[in-house]
């Protein structure tokens, strides 16, 4: 626990937002995840309201409904999902393109690998959020520090993340996931500005 305790509170908060996004975007929500989301609370800031909206929508959602919405939104790769949550897809129009190759290069530099059995290309938004979470908390070794986090964020998330999350916000199929778009969009804006301050 000690090295986790060394991470400043603000950075743990950032990590938790990335963790939340990774959790709800990686796969259809499990019963456990749905229960967790139902318990989220938020204050009267824009981010707080998005969290509270997500919670109240989740309270009314069923697990099956949540799964169906996830499929309609994100099961791309030819399966007809409304959005393709991959960096390559957003930046080039195709999957398995240069952004994925660039990401693999960065991951090799940081000493991070995809877990065995990962079937999606790694430039999936949930994977990128999980990597940010790990870079902050030191899950892959020592925390990489702000410079490493900034470089990963600027190179692999910032160029397309805002557009992706805005698309989630206004996607036809998005009801439960609408506030996820808002949360992601706000997190990216906050991160971008905070990284500039530390530069």
């Amino acid at each position: 626990m000690t090295y986790v305790a060394n991470i400043p509170e603000e950075d743990m908060l950032r990590a938790r937002f990335y963790g939340l996004l990774a959790r709800v975007l990686a796969a259809p929500m499990s019963a456990e995840t749905l229960t967790f989301v139902r318990g989220l609370q938020g204050d009267d800031t824009e981010m707080g309201r998005a969290l509270a909206t997500f919670a109240s929508l989740a309270q009314r959602a069923t697990k099956t409904g949540a799964e169906e919405e996830y499929s309609e939104l994100f099961f791309g790769m030819g399966a007809g999902g409304e959005l393709g949550p991959y960096a390559s897809r957003y930046l080039t129009g195709f999957v398995y393109e240069k952004p994925l190759a660039d990401l693999r290069e960065t991951m090799a530099e940081f000493g991070i690998a995809a877990a065995d059995g990962l079937r999606e290309p790694e430039d999936h938004i949930a994977f990128l959020c999980e990597v940010m979470h790990g870079l902050i908390t030191g899950r892959f070794g020592k925390p990489v520090g702000l410079d490493g986090q900034r470089s990963f964020f600027k190179k692999h998330i910032q160029p397309w993340g805002t557009r992706f999350f805005e698309d989630v916000e206004r996607a036809k199929a998005a009801v439960l996931y609408m506030p996820v778009g808002t949360i992601g969009k706000l997190l990216i804006a906050i991160e971008a500005e905070a990284f500039e301050m530390a530069a």
Binding site: L51, A113, I190
Partner: protein, 66 residues
């Protein structure tokens, strides 16, 4: 410039708080539930990187944080 160096981390922290990251009861469970799609890579010679050994601690942390 020395001043700037000392104050920017504080400004950043303060900004992160007021910008809304402290806006919700986002418990440690958000961390606990993060999927396991990424992991520390093994070094090319097959030896695990130093990072890899820490995953047990991390698992413990996740368990305790629930």
């Amino acid at each position: 410039m020395k001043d700037r160096k000392e104050t920017t981390p504080l400004r950043r922290r303060e900004f992160l708080r007021v910008a809304g990251l402290a806006s919700g009861a986002l418990g440690a469970a958000a961390v606990a539930g993060a999927p396991d799609a990424a992991k520390a890579a093994a070094a090319p010679d097959g030896r695990k990187t130093s990072g890899y050994r820490e995953t047990d601690h991390v698992k413990t942390y996740y368990r305790l944080a629930r």
